[in-house]
């Protein structure tokens, strides 16, 4: 079946602009995760959605970052007033249920470049 998809594949923006990154999880997967991969910090957890429960936003680096998940499926990560340090690859993953030990399946990521 189809895997996790993300769009856009690449995004170049100017400092101060807002960006939206989209993630389509695997059909039927109730858990969705966002991670950030940057040269200096490696892979960092950002946010976790499980079904209709309130998301765990503990990994979001600042209040410029927000995410939503509509209808328990598609998720959008929004970064407001982008800064150069936001440049990174943003990875989305999904898993079948909320069980801790479910394998997370990743999308191809969105490479964000802030000029």
């Amino acid at each position: 079946g189809a895997g996790v998809s993300q769009s856009p594949s690449n995004k170049v923006t100017e400092k101060g602009k807002d960006v939206e990154l989209r993630c389509d999880p695997i059909s039927g997967h109730t858990a969705l995760y966002w991670y950030r991969q940057s040269l200096g910090q490696g892979l960092e957890f950002l946010i976790y959605f499980q079904g209709n429960s309130a998301p765990d936003k503990s990994g979001l680096p600042s209040d410029r970052f927000s995410a939503e998940r509509t209808g328990g499926s598609v998720s959008t990560l929004t970064i407001q007033r982008t800064q150069q340090e936001d440049s990174a690859v943003y990875l989305c993953a999904s898993s079948p249920r909320s069980g801790t030990f479910d394998t997370q399946y990743f999308g191809p990521g969105t490479r964000l470049t802030v000029l």
């Binding site: 957890f45 976790y48 801790t100 394998t103 999308g107 191809p108 990521g109």
Partner: protein, 114 residues
Amino acid sequence: AQTVTQSQPEMSVQEAETVTLSCTYDTSENNYYLFWYKQPPSRQMILVIRQEAYKQQNATENRFSVNFQKAAKSFSLKISDSQLGDTAMYFCAFISNSGYALNFGKGTSLLVTP
């Protein structure tokens, strides 16, 4: 807090040879899972292998196997009969019973040469 350490930033191996990538982790948890993910230049993170901490038997997936030493908190990946397509970044990851976010190591860049 759990930490994952990959001490080899870069490694190289010749095609058909065997290579071992190292990973150590630190946790006070008793029940957890460990993973190796592969990330080729396409950026897609692909699961290579996973290991349940309560299982003593080392996991194996075709040419990929792990050496899981729970007491030593070590989780190395052995790639046998290396192929050019194995060239990628390899990440070791940990997830505990009390969380759901993967904790990743910094990665090892593996180059397979002809």
